[in-house]
C-alpha cells in the first residue's frame, strides 16, 4: 500500500503538469482565456489535493526550475525595455514612480486600517507595487500584442518590479534585524543584494553577446537560455535577487544589440514547457486554508492596487502622449502579480524568514490574481485593439 502511494506521488507532478497543459489548451481554444489562468487554477487544485493526500510538500526542487522559468521571462522583458524612452518621455518615469509609490502607500494604509501589523502592511504594500512580468509577458506574447498599452505595460512592469524588490528587501532586512538580531543575515537581505544582483546580470549581458559575436551560431536562443540558467542558479547559491539579475541581463544584452530573434519570443518550446511548470508550481504553493483566512484583506489589497494603478495611468495619459482611455487600459494591463509574489515569498523563506500574519492575505491576493490577472490584461489589450487575433483576417 505504501509503495502504491509512493508510486502515485512520484507520478503526481508530471501528471499534474500534463493535465494542466491540456486544460489550458482546451480552455484557450474554447473560450479564449489566457492559458496561464488555467495553469494557475489547475496548479492550485493539484497542490491542495496533494496536501490532503500527502501532507506538507517540499517545494525546493521545483523552486529552481520555477526561478529559471521566471528568469527567462525577466530576461525577455529586460530585452524589450528601452531606457532611452524614459529620457525622451519623462512622463513614463513619472507615471511609474507615482503608480508604484502610491500603490505602496495606499495598500499600506488600507491594511493598517484593516488592523494588520505594520511589518505585514509593509510587505503587502511592497508586493502590491509590482506587476508580475510572467503574467504580463505570457499574455502579451499569446495575444501577439503591440501598441502603446503593451509597450507601456512592459516598461511600467519592469520598473515597478525593481522598485518592489527594493522596498521588499528593505522591509525584510528590517524584519530580520528586529526578530533575530542577526546583523549579517539582515545585511544579506539589504540593498547590497540589489547592487550585486544587478551587476551580475550586467556582466552576463556584456559577456554573452561577446561570445555570440565571436563564435556566432544562428540561434541565440539556446545561448541566452543557458546563460539565464547559470545566472539564476548563481543568484540562488549566492542568495541574491534572481529578479534583478535576469532583468539586468536582458537590459544589458539589449543595449549591446545582440540578436535574439523575434521568432524566439518566449524562448520557444523551452520557454513554453517551463512556463507550464512555473504557473502550476506557483499556484500549487497557495493553500486553500491560507487563502480563506486572508481573503477579505487580500481582496481589499487587490482592489486598492487596481484603483491606484488605473487611476495614475489614466491621469498622466494625456501629457504622456496617449488618450485617457488607453492610459487607463495600460494601468489595467498591470494586473498580474501572482507569480512574482509567490517566488518572492519562497525565496525569502529560503533565507529563514517567515511571513506569519501577511502570508494569508498574500496567498489570497496571489490566488485571485493568478487566475483573474491574466484575464484582465488580456481584456485591456483587446479593448485597446492591440490583440493580434482580434484584427487578423
Amino acid at each position: 500500500m505504501n509503495e502504491l502511494i509512493s508510486a502515485a506521488a512520484q507520478l503526481a507532478w508530471p501528471l499534474a503538469l500534463v493535465v494542466s497543459w491540456m486544460a489550458g489548451e482546451l480552455a484557450h481554444r474554447w473560450t479564449g482565456v489566457p492559458r496561464i489562468s488555467i495553469y494557475g487554477l489547475a496548479g492550485f487544485l493539484a497542490g491542495n489535493l496533494a496536501l490532503e493526500v500527502q501532507g506538507p510538500i517540499d517545494h525546493s526542487p521545483y523552486l529552481l526550475f520555477a526561478s529559471l522559468a521566471f528568469g527567462l521571462v525577466l530576461f525577455e522583458l529586460g530585452y524589450r525595455i528601452n531606457l532611452r524612452w524614459l529620457r525622451a518621455n519623462p512622463w513614463i518615469l513619472a507615471t511609474s514612480l507615482l503608480e508604484s509609490g502610491l500603490s505602496f502607500i495606499a495598500v499600506y494604509l488600507a491594511s493598517t486600517w484593516f488592523g494588520a501589523p505594520p511589518i505585514s502592511c509593509g510587505l503587502l504594500g511592497a508586493l502590491a507595487m509590482a506587476t508580475s512580468p510572467a503574467g504580463l509577458v505570457r499574455v502579451l506574447n499569446e495575444q501577439g500584442a503591440g501598441g502603446q498599452v503593451s509597450e507601456r505595460a512592459m516598461h511600467l512592469a519592469a520598473l515597478n518590479c525593481v522598485a518592489a524588490v527594493f522596498v521588499f528587501n528593505l522591509i525584510v532586512g528590517v524584519k530580520v534585524f528586529q526578530t533575530s538580531g542577526d546583523l549579517l543575515h539582515a545585511a544579506g537581505s539589504s540593498l547590497l543584494v540589489l547592487a550585486v544582483s544587478g551587476l551580475l546580470g550586467a556582466i552576463a549581458g556584456t559577456l554573452v553577446p561577446l561570445w555570440l559575436r565571436s563564435v556566432g551560431g544562428k540561434d541565440a536562443t539556446l545561448t541566452f537560455a543557458l546563460a539565464v540558467l547559470l545566472v539564476v542558479a548563481a543568484t540562488h547559491v549566492l542568495k541574491l535577487s534572481p529578479v534583478l539579475a535576469a532583468l539586468c541581463f536582458g537590459l544589458a544584452a539589449r543595449h549591446r544589440r545582440s540578436a535574439l530573434g523575434v521568432t524566439q519570443r518566449n524562448f520557444g518550446a523551452l520557454g513554453d514547457i517551463l512556463s507550464v511548470l512555473l504557473f502550476v508550481f506557483a499556484a500549487s504553493t497557495l493553500t486553500w486554508q491560507n487563502a480563506k483566512e486572508g481573503m477579505v484583506l487580500g481582496l481589499l489589497v487587490v482592489l486598492v492596487r487596481m484603483v491606484v494603478k488605473v487611476g495614475v495611468c489614466a491621469a498622466l495619459a494625456r501629457p504622456s502622449g496617449i488618450s485617457v482611455r488607453k492610459g487607463a487600459l495600460s494601468g489595467l494591463a498591470l494586473a498580474p502579480v501572482a507569480v512574482f509574489t509567490v517566488l518572492m515569498i519562497e525565496q525569502t523563506r529560503r533565507l529563514g524568514v517567515e511571513f506569519n500574519y501577511s502570508l494569508a492575505p498574500l496567498t489570497a491576493m496571489a490566488l485571485v490574481l493568478q487566475v483573474v490577472g491574466p484575464i484582465i490584461t488580456q481584456r485591456a489589450l483587446v479593448w485597446a485593439n492591440e490583440a493580434h487575433q482580434h484584427k487578423e483576417v
Binding site: Q148, R257, S323, E392
Partner: protein, 377 residues
Amino acid sequence: MTLGPFATSESLTMGVELELQLVSLSDFDLVPASPDMLDLLARAPFPGNVTPEITQSMIEINSSVHSGHEGLVAQLREIRDTLLAAGDRLNVGVCGGGTHAFQQWSDRRIFSKPRFQEVSQLYGYLAKQFTVFGQHVHIGCRSGDEAMYLLHALNRYVPHFIALSGSSPFLQGSDTSFQSARLNSVFAFPLSGRAPFLLSWNAFAEDYFERMAGTGIVKSMKDFYWDLRPKPEYGTIELRVCDTPLSVERAAALACYLQALCRYLLAGNEPAPREDDYLVYNYNRFQACRFGLDGTLVHPQRHEQMVLRDDILATLKRLEPDFEALGSTAALAQLRRDIEMGSDADYLRRAWREGGSREAVVDAALERFRQPEPALV
C-alpha cells in the same frame, strides 16, 4: 466603367509620397503603432499629410505640390521632425528603407479598412509580404497626352531611379544580394510591370482601360501596380519604383531628378519612344535591382551596354541646364554626392558587418533618418 477626364496640372510641378517604417525602439522590430501615432499626430496640425497604410507598422506621408527643390526639402524635413517628435514620445522609431531587415511577414497585421481587407483576402501571403516601403513621385502634366508621352519616354530611365534609391538589401532576416529586394515583392502581383504602349490619352482611357474594366479584373487605376502610371484625378504621372530612401534629403533629390528629366524630355531632346524600347526593359530593371549603380544597362535604341553609374552621371551632366532652370542645383549636387558615397543598401550592409546583428541594421536606418549625412561643403 470609365476613367474620369485627365485633370490638368501645372506642368512640372511635383509631389512626393513616402511609405515609412514604424519600428519599436525597444526591439527594433516593426510595431503596429500607426493607430497610436495617428492619434497623437492629430493633436496638432501636420505639415503635409499623413495616412495609414495597409499594415499597422507602416505610415504614409505626402508633401504638398511643389515647383522647386528648396520648398520640397524644407517641407519633408518639417514632416520628418514632426514624426520623430511624436515617435519619441511613444517609443516608436520612424525610418526609411525599402524593407525591414528582419520582420516576419506572418506577424504583420492588416489595418482594418475595407479596401485593405479585400486586398488581403485576394492576394493571401502576397499582401503581407508586401510590407515594403516605397517612394512615389508625382509630376504634373498639362494633358493626358503629355502624361502618356512622358510615361513612355521615361522607360529608359526607370533603372536610374531603382539604382539611386535601392535600400532594401535584406528581407526576413537574410541578405538577398539585391540592392532593391522590395521590387521583387511588387513584381509578384499580376497587374505589375509597365503600362501598355499607348501614346494618346483617349486610346488609353477608352481602348485599354474600359476594355480591362469590362473584363472585371480592374475597377480603378489603383488596381494597376505599374512602375509608372497615370493618375488622372491629380493630372500627374506617378513613378513608383523607388525604395523609400533612408533620408528625406535623398527623397527630395530623387523627385527633383525626375522633374528635371521630364523637363528635358518635354523639350524634345530625345527620339520619341517606341514599343521596341521595352524589349530591354525587364532586363535593365533586373540589373538595377540586383546590382544597383554597378548594374549594366542595354540602351533600348542603340543596344550598347553601359554601366548604370556612368549613364546616370552622363545624364546628370546633360540635365544641368534643366536643374538650373528649375532652381534645383542643390539637388543635383546631392545626387552626385549620393552616387559617390554609395547607395543606402551599401550603407545598411556596412551596418550589418560592423554591428554584427540584424538589429544594428535597423538602428543604422533609424539614425540615418534622424541625422542625414553631414551637409555639403
